[in-house]
């Protein structure tokens, strides 16, 4: 992949929810090593925009291209490249921390051994909670499983919706560190957040959605 070429190109995207037009004629690019923060007041459509880019929600208009190829032509290839973190944690209360992480990585077709999983959980401070069912974890600890997942997923494009919610200061710092490593490797991130994310090495741009 050559520098200077946008890896993710979004053109003319529009979405309405019921009678309300959330956004229209929205254009943006994301380059390798770049973080694009989506900002705007509550209810302006940040989540919907992220879901439109992933393909979960069908936009009313617009084109999305990934690595120069239209996503509509090969959605499976695009899905392989994105790690999505939405509002919902996608954790199973009855599975242990370890099992949750293992199953979510297997779903992403990422092969990791038990040791890598144990290391990743230790890195986010969950080594003592490895065998606890997820129902016994706090909201922040559940979020930390998400951090461990991001640290093991080689996906090139992160699409994250309010990733800092429920995380304490240490957790937030850890997220920024992960993000920084991701960007330094040439990864891309599209993040909806109200916080100021300042990863030291990456380029940060903002996209404002105004109603």
């Amino acid at each position: 992949m050559t520098e200077g070429h946008a890896a993710l190109e979004v053109r003319d995207i529009a979405c309405r929810r019921g009678p309300a037009l959330l956004f229209s004629k929205l254009d943006f690019d994301v380059f390798p090593g770049e973080l694009l923060c989506v900002r705007g007041p509550n209810g302006c459509g940040k989540t919907t925009l992220l879901r439109c880019v992933t393909g979960l929600t069908r936009p009313d208009a617009g084109r999305i291209a990934w690595l120069g190829q239209s996503v509509a032509e090969d959605p499976a290839r695009f899905r392989g490249d994105i790690a999505y973190g939405g509002h919902l944690p996608a954790l199973k209360d009855d599975l242990t921390t370890e099992e949750n992480l293992e199953f979510s990585l297997r779903l992403r077709d990422v092969a990791v051994d038990r040791e890598a999983i144990a290391r990743a959980l230790a890195a986010v401070g969950l080594e003592k909670r490895r065998r606890l069912p997820a129902r016994r974890l706090s909201a922040g600890q559940r979020r930390r499983i998400g951090l461990a997942r991001l640290s093991l997923d080689p996906a090139l494009l992160w699409i994250l919706d309010e990733p800092l919610t429920a995380l304490d200061d240490a957790g937030q710092a850890q997220f920024v560190e992960l993000l920084d490593r991701h960007l330094a490797r040439g990864g891309l991130a599209l993040v909806a957040t109200h916080h100021n994310l300042l990863p030291p090495s990456g380029k940060v741009r903002e996209l404002r959605i105004a109603p």
């Binding site: 599975l95 199953f103 077709d109």
Partner: protein, 230 residues
């Protein structure tokens, strides 16, 4: 940069089977409740209609099929609702594994924890009705062929009813009419055997319906999930 995974059908299938079976193993009460419901419904009929042996042998095959159908229906909402509520269904939709694989895996797992135990339990209930050994066998075979169809059709309906208010009622209205042909051929096979006719035509039709459902329904489930997640 690493080449992204494109996933495999078998990978998604195995993933869904392994996860759903492990979840069911953690909560065996759901299987037990399904079986208890089956036994209860089947036991209510003699109480309501009267316990003459000839009458029971006459209605037995049909009652067992209706009981199994209702018990299988009872287990349906769980097939996608929890994954929908906790966001797992979003992650599955974004998995590199083709959706057909994990959708089929979830339905197969659902059959293993609902239809299969019901099928295995049916001879016990049949004994209660004084059915002959041959009829018990045909009943079990017809359930083994029919309950996967119930899981498949019901899975598609459950995926469609996701997120709808009063989803349970909607699911009953959607799924139960679709179950009617399965019930007719399933109960018909055991009844034919009980009255001395050949059950094979009914069983062949059930088998054909199962093959058709195996081919067609998973794609409908995928489409329904896509609509519900949007």
């Amino acid at each position: 940069m690493n080449v992204p995974s494109r996933g495999t059908y078998s990978g998604g299938f195995a993933w869904a089977m392994a996860r759903d079976l492990r979840l069911a193993w953690r909560h065996p009460d759901e299987i037990i409740l399904t079986l208890a419901f089956f036994a209860l419904v089947a036991s209510l009929f003699p109480l309501g209609i009267g316990a003459e042996p000839q009458l029971l042998a006459r209605i037995g095959p049909g009652v067992i099929w209706v009981g199994a159908l209702l018990a299988a229906f009872l287990a349906l909402p769980g097939i996608f609702a929890a994954d929908f509520a906790d966001g797992s269904l979003e992650q599955m939709s974004l998995s590199p594994h083709p959706p057909l694989g994990w959708a089929a895996g979830k339905i197969a797992a659902h059959w293993i924890i609902s239809g299969l135990p019901l099928t295995l339990m049916s001879p016990l209930i049949g004994l209660q009705y004084g059915l002959t050994a041959d009829t018990l066998l045909v009943e079990a075979v017809s359930l083994a062929l029919g309950t996967p169809i119930l899981s498949l059709l019901g899975g598609a309906c459950a995926a469609l009813a996701l997120g709808a208010r009063g989803g349970g009622m909607l699911l009953a209205l959607l799924a139960l009419p679709l179950f009617v042909p399965v019930l007719i051929f399933g109960a018909g096979a055991a009844e034919a055997q009980a009255t001395g006719l050949a059950p094979t035509p009914h069983l062949s039709l059930l088998g054909a319906a199962l093959i058709a459902a195996l081919v067609g329904v998973p794609a409908a489930v995928v489409a329904a999930v896509r609509i519900s997640v949007d």
